[in-house]
Symmetry: C2
Subunit: 145 residues, 2 copies
């Protein structure tokens, strides 16, 4: 017996978003996990380097809104696996430029191809007009525009 029938979790946006996000990443998560033993943050860092090329840890953190300690640890792991190389900047020896190795690039290419087809399969479940609206609202909520 509900105390307040006018409220339903399933209409609560943060709840809906969380459920959809979990459901939506589930399938792809197993790919980068089982195929390359990557964690979610590690995959995210890999993708940013694959897409935007050379970046610093801080830049990645700012762009993806990941805390610097999380980025730091992800970079460490990716470096251990020889997916990422670090090089100190000459002009400012605090900053470290990160870029993918050949192995990292190859993992990125493989995963991004899978990501694209995964994404296409997800989007195929809706009509194009709905996807347009959906993504626009998402981007706005995610503060990406």
């Amino acid at each position: 017996m509900s105390k307040d029938d006018s409220f339903d979790v399933q209409d609560f946006l943060p709840y809906l978003l969380n459920q959809a996000a979990e459901e939506g990443s589930l399938g792809f998560q197993t790919v980068y996990k089982e195929r390359y033993g990557l964690l979610r943050t590690e995959w995210r860092v890999l993708f940013h380097l694959g897409i935007y090329g050379q970046m610093t840890a801080t830049e990645i953190g700012t762009r993806a809104r990941i805390h610097k300690t999380k980025v730091s640890r992800a970079v460490q792991k990716l470096n251990d696996r020889r997916f990422v190389e670090r090089s100190r900047s000459d002009s400012d020896r605090r900053v470290e430029w990160l870029h993918l190795t050949a192995a990292g690039m190859s993992a990125y290419n493989d995963l991004s191809a899978i990501a694209q087809s995964y994404d296409a399969a997800l989007q195929a479940r809706f009509c194009e007009a709905d996807i347009v609206v959906f993504k626009r609202v998402l981007r706005h909520l995610a503060r990406l525009d």
Copy 2:
């Protein structure tokens, strides 16, 4: 230098969903955290009991897709705080019925009221037609319909 310019993380649905979900729960998270010292899972369990009334841990886990160990520990904490009471079923002594105490109900009422206005504020940023589409797609992705 990007290897594959046709791909952008910001168009990748799982990524977008995650960012939006994190952004969207951020504000409300501080409410249940600072006001009642609740964790995300604890809040979710509280809400389910507030809305659907008496339930078992397994039912909550199934409906919200939370792992049973997470539910178990959340119920323990909520029970410690006297927000939830447990009672063994007579017909099957493995199952435990959970329901809110008066204190739990009051916390739920308080939080659900805040949740509703928080939700309304989020939704006010878009036109109604967009919200309708958005929620429909979300529900489908979250496999809630």
